[in-house]
Symmetry: C2
Subunit: 142 residues, 2 copies
């Protein structure tokens, strides 16, 4: 059943991993797993890190956001055998551009605190996005 | 590192759950968790089922696909503590419309065989999509 907005937001803030979606003009949706943190003002930090190997640090998701700043992040609980445990939350996001150095810095700090893998802050950059809407669903209340 | 296309497709076919993304003209990407099956011809069946409670059976994802048949499905392995185990596969899809009754029927059968929850075929419908491209990534080879 549909989650109340505050409940959806609480689950979103308590989580730290999901599927990040941006729009590619030709092929449609680009979706990729990411980790994230949310700060007290409702800004989201999505790291472009140097830990998981990449062919390029100039990622398609950034090119997509420059052309269209709308993004979506979906988190979910999946249980193959017991569907009464399922829930998901979807955040509608707007990329804040590159001119948000202070916010990027504080979100990088939060990521380094949150994930042991990020202790040394191995970031090429941290994408900064604002939550503009949030919704969710759960198979069972509470 | 980037997965070879046949390896990406093999992982995609061996899986059955992921995040399904369609495009909403105003708010951008709509993403939602789904289960799925793939048949031998590379067609994907995504059920609209009567098991997980919904407010309406006429889902937003269908309205989106009628306006824009491009869809994306992402599957992934997530391991919080050991990022050497991470991998993901992304399939670029095209919705085949409503005029594919035979294919919908055979995919419904396959879903009923695959998921015990679907044994009685509790489907409002099965969305039929074709895989048009596939790509993937793994932290470590093999």
């Amino acid at each position: 059943m549909r989650l109340a907005e505050d409940e959806a937001l609480a689950r979103f803030k308590a989580n730290d991993h999901g599927v990040f979606c941006t729009i590619h003009a030709e092929r449609g949706v680009d979706a990729v797993p990411v980790v994230y943190v949310v700060d007290a003002d409702g800004y989201l930090g999505v790291p472009v890190d140097l830990v998981k190997p990449k062919t390029s640090l100039r990622l398609q998701r950034e090119r997509n956001l420059e052309a269209d700043p709308r993004a979506t992040l979906l988190i979910e609980r999946w249980e193959r055998d017991d569907w009464s445990q399922l829930w998901w939350v979807r955040a509608e996001l707007r990329w804040q551009g590159d001119d948000v150095a202070d916010r990027e810095e504080s979100l990088a700090e939060e990521l380094a605190r949150h994930y042991p893998q990020y202790r040394e802050r191995p970031f090429a950059k941290v994408l900064v996005l604002r939550i503009v809407a949030i919704s969710g669903w759960a198979a069972t209340p509470g």
